[in-house]
Point group: C2
Chain length 198, copies 2
Amino acid sequence: MSKTVLYMSMSVDGFIAGPDDSMEHGLGVDGECLHAWLTDGDVSPESHRPAAGPSAEVFDEMLGTGAVIVGRRTFEFADGWAGDHHNGVPIFVLTREAPAQPAPGHARYVTDGVESCVAQARSAAGDRDVMVHGAATAQALLGAGLLDELRLQLVPVLLGQGRRLFDHLPAEVVELDPAEPTEAPGVLHLRYRVRKES
Amino acid sequence: MSKTVLYMSMSVDGFIAGPDDSMEHGLGVDGECLHAWLTDGDVSPESHRPAAGPSAEVFDEMLGTGAVIVGRRTFEFADGWAGDHHNGVPIFVLTREAPAQPAPGHARYVTDGVESCVAQARSAAGDRDVMVHGAATAQALLGAGLLDELRLQLVPVLLGQGRRLFDHLPAEVVELDPAEPTEAPGVLHLRYRVRKES
């Protein structure tokens, strides 16, 4: 079955954005360093993305997903990716209440909860994985036991303050099975499978 | 000069203890899993510590330090290590106010601030490093620009809630220079040098 896979760049102190993230500054104050790894190594001149090595592999895996689940905040801060996150795959925007305007392009708002959102995204992705993005969405899926894998791009920096990836979660131990980490310029790629209670 | 090196076991979501840590349960509810790596691999029957590999190296480095800086809470939760953390090196307990009872064994309370505490520990350690332990102490040294290295034992688990290692820090970017991470049973050993502004 299609797996739900969280992709997030995170500082060593656990932040995915600096303070005061907003429409104008989606990564918050000083948060841009979290995405510097995308261009710290060899960069493809056509795609402006990592050209080789572990960072290119992670990027390719991300682009190989068949659907995207994202929270309303992340979606709006990214200006909805103009309706196309990658390759025209459907974007499921998890939100409590849909705005009056329909979602652009391949995006649609999902208002009937995280279970429905994941079910729709899995169905749309077919045999490909579902990319999960954003802190609130990660927390919603984790809290509901619906996240299958974490792929964290650990950036060697402390931000001190900002938006945490892991926050507001219940006090429950979730065991993770690690895959081998890979190093690349400006980032350590971590992979974990979420162990499900059997 | 003697370096200050933080040694802490941390969950992937950034906790160094579960909720409700106390004298009775220093690692909080369900926090014991953070130290499971100490016995997850080959263990020396004499010392009850990792017998070989990266975890043994980290443990040996820790035991090679010439002084310990620790916060009052961590010190008390550990029952003051009966006055001897390792090899009789001096233990500097950073606290606002010393208790009436003198500190046991090789420990002493330091009440005149983090700069003095670090200076005393460096002096005592000679050409060896200073081990820094505990979340509050890590934060005090980081905030004062007095921490030189981080050695984090990243444990593949989410705790959801508990005591965070990185918390209450100013919104300032601190750049880290990573060394190559090493994997061992139940843990990923991360090492970072704190880049100082020149």
